[in-house]
Symmetry: C2
Subunit: 761 residues, 2 copies
């Protein structure tokens, strides 16, 4: 064998397809007889639909169906509930009670997209309008409009994690830094819009959908429509980015399936640019009132946060989970005597909030790391030194935090020291004020183990299964329930399989994204878990397959398995080059059922599930160098450094790309991106994604501390890049502008916001 594939910067095998226009996206699905859906959405944020007159819509040439709330009174999708107290567990997909602008109220289906759209504009909606409640704080106010009057409140869920006596530790401490942070509502913004082509034929619903979790979509659709699970097939072959936004089944997607079932022909729909901000779940929207307590020596005593999360109109498919994850990752890489967080999920008359890369962790990092910087400033100590003084060292691990997270392995101080060595300030005399900011985090990756959500407060997860087959010609097929969402998982799994089985990577094919041809995955490609959990299963499957090949060869060669070695397409007796048998010969015999050892079944396929005992924890340290224009308040990130440890790296090039991409999204979150509503609940967003102009060179260093849990030692890496930037950049801005440092609490740090703070002094 040549060099191992694991650890090599193997070119991504999906790129040839994706870069030459052969991506297998939903938009490329062509089914004969396909018709087109258009979703009619509420123009108001809060109210009641009292009439829906579709007569004029029906009159448009080519219109085939108009679906209104009365056509689907029982069609519901689930709200995930983490806590038994959550006030709702499902919602109506077409509801005449309106709770956000953009809520689907009807669907028009026509022979052409244009006819569907024209007809949709003729659907006459009669709406009684109610006052809006925008923002979690407003929705908590006395007298705020109630979205569900029967509750008597807008608080859908309210629970506390961690130490019950945390507040008393805070109050008794020498120093307490208290700040209130606001994280803007942002949108995961994948290049491929959401889209569905649904077909219903022969009592089977086939759904092509841009999704991170096709098996999950299958379950939810089957349950929503009362179909037998075996009658639903979901296909997501290439998904052009997900970032959490595509782990849900959306109401509009379910409605397209309903239309296909009603019409008996394929129905196509794709998210419009407007839908992205109206209808695709945004995330982050939260307010944290937080306190860091230190003793006289600058030792961290306690950390307490009051997390107020904006659920939007109803708990989504992830409910208040992101806010709960903020709480569980609040302590980061530091030791505290006490930690606690109260988490409240509040309904507001806005689009429901969901998942976004990082899933509560950028929010936790911003809160903790800004508090630490502010403490260092007030105490007059070096901010890096203050961090190192309170950090868990490598010898402290494994370590379970006060909020139940079993950190497994790593060298947190090592990462911060390495980062400090990298950082070089920008020196330029252009009238702008410059600063450096640091941020450290520990990241929950490799979501598992499998647990009954109903029975646990926080953790949920899931195993992964890999089916690994060697074909008769010794080619290898890996099939898994994780999905190719642009993250390079096809390449990484191929590298693992090639090394562990012992075949050239060109002989390995990776089959993903079709519930009819891949093993079950309850949650799919989310939570930085595809490689840690899916690759863990593959590692074990490959070990078994290799063992089976050697056993078959031992039988054929009449040798002991211990005397055999597998390399270069053959199994040979060590030291006897003449005594060998090719993998192709072994594989043909195995599949044909020829000449097998007694009791060995035919075939050459391993099906292995890996259910991690726990999450595995990656970590990182970020630093940003910024320049602030005091005249305009504009912030530029001039340099950015990342030290990130994601365990064993199967493909460092892929991980590095993931980290850079995540940092770019983090810069957007820190500086420009926000979905803004009027007090009436109308989004008035000019949504500014960072471009290459806003992004500096990003230096990435990747130490590798193997996970002691994952077979193969991998940890997750997909979300790492997004966690640090809001905190690092906010700290850098505070460093540049010490006169308003205590008030650098809210992201995005738009020019308007900075300029206002500077002007208010």
């Amino acid at each position: 064998m040549g060099e191992p594939y694991v650890g090599a910067r193997t070119p991504r095998r999906e790129d040839a397809r994706l870069l030459t226009g052969r991506g297998r996206y939903v938009g490329a699905v062509r089914l004969p007889g396909t018709v087109h859906a258009y979703v009619v959405r509420s123009p108001v944020a809060h109210g009641r639909l009292v009439g829906c007159d579709a007569k004029q819509a029906w009159a448009v040439e080519g219109v085939l169906d108009v679906i209104t709330p009365s056509d689907a009174p029982d069609l519901r999708l689930p709200c995930v509930s983490l806590s038994p107290d959550q006030r709702m567990t499902s919602y109506r997909v077409l509801d005449d009670a309106v709770r956000y602008a953009g809520q689907p109220l009807a669907v028009v289906v026509a022979r052409t997209p244009e006819a569907a759209r024209d007809a949709a504009e003729l659907v006459d909606l009669a709406l009684d309008e109610f006052p809006a409640a925008v923002g979690a704080e407003r929705a908590m106010e006395e007298g705020a409009p109630l979205l569900y009057p029967e509750w008597g409140t807008n608080v859908a869920t309210d629970f506390t994690l961690g130490d019950a006596d945390c507040a008393s530790y805070v109050e008794a401490a020498e120093h307490v830094v208290e700040m209130t942070f606001t994280m803007g509502r942002v949108s995961p913004y994948p290049m491929e819009p959401r889209g569905v082509v649904a077909a219903y034929a022969d009592d089977e619903l086939t759904v092509h959908i841009s999704s991170q979790a096709p098996h999950h979509v299958r379950e939810h659709l089957a349950e929503a429509f009362g179909l037998s699970h075996d009658r639903v097939r979901v296909i997501s072959r290439d998904t052009g980015g997900g970032f959490g936004g595509k782990e849900h089944v959306y109401p509009d997607e379910a409605l397209v399936c309903l239309a296909a079932m009603r019409l008996g022909r394929p129905v196509s729909w794709s998210e419009s640019p407007g839908d992205r901000l109206f209808a695709t779940l945004p995330a982050r929207a939260a307010v944290h009132r937080a306190r860091l307590a230190l003793d006289a020596d600058g030792r961290f005593v306690a950390l307490h946060a009051d997390v107020l999360g904006d659920l939007g109109a109803h708990p989504s498919n992830v409910g208040a989970s992101t806010f709960a994850v903020t709480a569980t990752l609040l302590p980061g890489p530091y030791r505290f005597d006490r930690v606690a967080a109260r988490v409240r999920g509040v309904v507001t008359t806005t689009t429901p909030t969901g998942s976004y890369r990082g899933f509560g962790q950028p929010e936790a990092a911003l809160t903790r790391e800004r508090l630490i910087d502010e403490a260092a400033r007030r105490l007059g100590v070096d901010r890096v030194e203050l961090r190192l003084r309170n950090m868990l060292g490598p010898d402290d691990l494994p370590y379970t935090t006060r909020v139940y997270q079993p950190y497994d392995s790593g060298d947190y101080p090592g990462a911060l020291r390495a980062l400090r060595d990298l950082v070089t300030p920008v020196e330029k005399d252009d009238g702008r004020r410059r600063g450096i900011g640091y941020s450290c985090h520990v990241e929950s990756t490799g979501m598992g183990p499998s647990m009954d959500l109903k029975a646990t407060a926080i953790q949920a997860g899931g195993y992964e299964t890999v089916v690994l087959r060697m074909e008769q010609d010794a080619s290898v097929v890996v099939s898994s329930g994780v999905v190719s969402i642009g993250q390079g998982i096809e390449t990484a799994l191929a590298q693992l399989a090639a090394d562990r089985v012992g075949v050239p990577i060109e002989r390995v094919r990776v089959a993903l994204g079709d519930t009819a041809a891949t093993p079950y995955s309850s949650i799919g490609s989310i939570a930085s878990r595809s490689l840690a959990v899916g690759g863990g299963a593959l590692t074990r499957a490959a070990e078994r397959l290799r063992g089976r090949l050697v056993a078959l060869a031992a039988h054929r060669l009449e040798a002991s398995p211990d005397d055999l070695e597998l390399a270069e397409g053959v199994v040979r007796v060590k030291g006897d080059p003449a005594a060998s048998i090719s993998l192709r010969d072994l594989a043909t015999s195995a599949w044909r059922g020829w000449d097998l050892p007694e009791g060995v079944p035919p075939g050459l396929e391993e099906r292995v599930s890996y259910d991690p005992a726990a999450y595995t924890f990656a970590y990182g340290a970020h630093a940003a160098a910024v320049a602030v224009d005091p005249e305009t308040g504009a912030v530029e990130v001039e340099r950015y450094w990342v030290v990130n440890d994601a365990g064993v790296l199967v493909n460092p090039a892929v991980v590095e790309g993931q980290i850079r991409g995540g940092v770019v999204q983090g810069i957007g979150m820190a500086l420009t991106e926000e979905i803004v509503y009027t007090p009436e609940g109308q989004p008035i967003t000019d949504y500014l994604l960072p471009t290459t102009r806003e992004v500096p060179d990003i230096e990435v260093v990747m130490p590798q501390t193997p996970s002691p849990l994952t077979p193969g030692g991998m940890k997750g890496a997909g979300e790492a890049g997004t966690i640090g930037p809001p905190a690092a950049i906010a700290n850098a801005v505070a460093d540049a502008l010490p006169e308003i440092a205590g008030r650098i609490t809210d992201v995005p740090l738009t020019p308007d916001r900075i300029w206002s703070l500077l002007s208010a002094r």
Copy 2:
């Protein structure tokens, strides 16, 4: 639970689809951008293509490709070789050496079928023509044209099975009846023509094909094109009849795939009515010189046959196997001291011959049963009594014949006696002459075990694998490599699964016919094996799944598995109706990985292979009542009776339908169907399929002796009906016309043939 499904006449679940035009045939496949192929065929039987000018064809509007032999010099398909002496093991798909009229010489691809056809007519073929050799006997003559001059003969294979001293037993016997039988060349004639839609994208060849054996097609195409097996997917969702004719990969089908690979777009092709007789493999064409030896008491001493099989232009995908099966099933249900058969496969300048329902067995039955009737006539004994006197009784079984067949179970004399009791002659005074004929047979079914063809002379077979999954909602999916070819296998597998797992049949789905979603099957739905082998695997898988459900319930209910019963969607503690758990609850936990016993992996899926230890032998006795018009020679079958034992019947209605259908094909073989060639090798066939006018009421009685081999006791039933009719009808004609009885040797017994025999006296 209500009545068991196994044994019930459950309506066929595939019929709703097939009868309402929703069959998933190749003709229903619509892929965007599909273009159309037309195959240019040789107009001559023997010669050499010395030029192929496609200039004019290329000039036709819409033509996209013209493929000629020089474009595919290395594209070959295999000839199956049973005997190491066979002179060829593969053939060129596009060969400039022409050996039959209809041989593919070029392919034209165009945007429309019409353009392809028009252009095909403009391909200018320059052919040197050689003399033809039609019929195996002609091809054996001194000085006959040689198809492969390098062989020095047209005999491709020559081997002898059975007792080496058989001939000496024949020669020493008291009575010897010697006759020479000719079986006409007939065509399996399914309702759905052969057809392919092939697409090549993303380095993957996807082939929709009307096939009985998609996994087999996949292997052969992958090898032919040098593709990795994992890059070929074959889909055969509904196949509208196969009868053996669709167990091969045909040259025209491979060429359509080649066109798809060259063009990178889907290519469609369908067999034309002319192709059926030119290009689809016919079967049966054989001449048997056979001798039955009896002692003075009418005891069968020996049976010897010299089987001369017409292979056509080259050994096909089944080579000389049908002729070999004639030899191995020659003894039927009788005891002989010695049996032997010499088998020769001869190449002739006609379309290669292949498989057809019965696969050599109708030929064996005709030979043996006509000899017996003629012996009875000559010896002046009752033909039924002569049979019963020599028949193996139930206590003789298991019994291995002189030609190695391990008969397993049955009551052969019982079947014949039951048949005799059914038979009632037609009495009518219309100037026609009437007779009754009998035929008994033992039938090889449930093809297995798996053996290396290269290492054995005759038997080959294969295991089947079933993947049986219970979904989270307790619905059940059965997936198998056997194929739905109209034989009702979907219904039968659903019945088995419902009973053995313990769920209503409505909750069972059967998924077949897609190599990407079904387990490997090396040979598919041929040889009356789908239910015996596939159902055997399912029976075992269902037992395991049921056991696992009970074990999971025992864990959850804290009970002993022995105290539990599974019925009506729940597992309950016997005698304690309150202590129960639903299958849905168990299945959800199993898939989610929640609350499983230590060491039990998540999921609820069983993958079980069943490799039979041997074939399992069905048997039957047939009788026909005929009327012969002495003026015209026309034969009418007025009544027909069948006693057939196929072991445990999962669905008697389906089996009865299969038997009736087989008898109809047997009547065609006996009376009307034959592909006739001119001496120049041009087919001049008016191919007469029997219609309802030619088919009488058929009475079917079905005793059930379980197979001691198959889990579940099933034997094969798909071919049973075709085996008896040629022999029973020929015997009936001989009975009606004793004056020419000794010359009733050849089928079909056309009016012309009978009239000639009568006139020649």
